[in-house]
């Protein structure tokens, strides 16, 4: 993964993932904030948040509605959250977003949630690679067909 390997700014025809990441969980993520790059053929837009609990359900829905094939949130481990309950709260929001997707018949597994060990750069690389692989298995969002 490299920000020097930029992908087009628009999702285009390929798979597109919007990846939200807590700024405290990865300094690399902070460096890459707002960057658009490609991992294993998946275009990724990385957006860092001051805390993962800043993620709103609407962010997840709007990303999927406007062309993302998947949305991911990477939080700090619950016990490491700088703001106490941020990761837990963020996890619950993801659960609710997934419930809404289940209701409308859009696969909720298109919403990824995982923890990153703060400042373990390999973790972010690995997480994105793994998610890209899962996205490839899932294919395009049915909203795009």
């Amino acid at each position: 993964m490299s920000a020097n390997n930029p992908a087009p700014d628009k999702p285009g025809n390929g798979l597109y993932l919007v990846a939200f990441c807590c700024a405290n969980s990865s300094s690399k993520a902070t460096e890459l904030s707002k960057a658009v790059f490609e991992v294993e053929g998946v275009t990724i837009r990385l957006v860092t948040l001051a805390c993962s609990s800043k993620l709103e359900i609407l962010h997840v829905l709007r990303a999927l509605e406007t062309g993302a094939d998947g949305v991911g949130l990477w939080t700090c481990p619950a016990k490491a959250c700088k703001f106490g309950r941020g990761s837990i709260r963020a996890g619950k929001r993801i659960e609710r977003a997934r419930r809404i997707l289940d209701q409308i018949g859009l696969e909720s597994k298109r919403v990824f949630l995982a923890e990153l060990n703060p400042d373990d750069e390999k973790d972010l690389d690995e997480a994105l690679k793994q998610t890209a692989a899962e996205m490839t298995k899932l294919g395009k969002s049915p909203l795009k067909t």
Binding site: E56, L64, E65, I100, I104, G105, L106, P142
Partner: protein
């Protein structure tokens, strides 16, 4: 305040078949407070509906707006343009809002996007509890401010029943027995003697059993 709960998006989407221009209308008062139909929930519902309809092959336009209140004629008027432009409105207000909007914009269909559940309050973040059933004859002076109509599963006027167990109601071990709470409150108030007096059967004519109710204040009525 009036407490409501979001409906399943699919249930709403089912009712939108055949419509091309849909408005999701939120209400910024009670339903915003209980996080069922305020501005944020309106945006969530509209986004989810756009996706739900698209997945069903329906390319309808779904817009969103939030009124300050949908139960006041003047405030409804502020969203009249958007309502008039829509073929159907999904109202995220309580049932009162849906009723007022339906009356104001007849014959436009205004359908409920939330279930109105009770009169209550926010006990803590994320938890709302029923506290009053609007019976029309308030007697909580006898029960230390705890309503036996709304909080006792049997609405007993003299309690507790034989099912009260360790302070919990027999319907569910997670539900407080209202009469246990009443006794504890009266103890704390030094008013346990209130319970020596038998409360006669309640006259439910002032509640829903007496039919639809109204309140008139003559010196204000036009």
């Amino acid at each position: 305040m009036i407490v409501a709960k979001a409906k399943d998006i699919n249930e709403i989407a089912d009712k939108l078949a055949g419509y091309g221009k849909i408005l999701v209308a939120g209400c910024a008062t009670c339903v915003a407070e209980c996080m069922a139909g305020g501005e944020k929930e309106t945006a969530i519902t509209a986004s989810a509906l756009r996706m739900a309809l698209k997945l069903r092959g329906n390319q309808a336009e779904v817009n969103e707006i939030t009124a300050e209140r949908q139960c006041e004629w003047e405030l409804i008027e502020e969203i009249a343009t958007q309502v008039n432009e829509a073929e159907i409105v999904v109202s995220l207000a309580c049932g009162v809002g849906v009723a007022c909007m339906s009356e104001r914009f007849e014959p436009k269909p205004i359908i409920p996007g939330v279930n109105t559940v009770f009169l209550g309050h926010r006990e803590k973040a994320g938890l709302w509890m029923e506290r009053c059933a609007a019976c029309g004859d308030c007697t909580v002076d006898r029960t230390g401010g705890i309503c036996p109509v709304a909080r006792c599963a049997k609405s007993l006027q003299n309690g507790p029943c034989g099912g009260s167990n360790d302070g919990k109601c027999e319907i569910d071990p997670d539900v407080d027995c209202a009469w246990h709470l009443i006794i504890e409150r009266l103890k704390a108030m030094g008013k346990l003697e209130n319970l020596k007096e038998n409360t006669p059967p309640k006259n439910w004519a002032t509640s829903r059993d007496g039919g639809p109710r109204k309140v008139v204040i003559e010196d204000v009525e036009e």
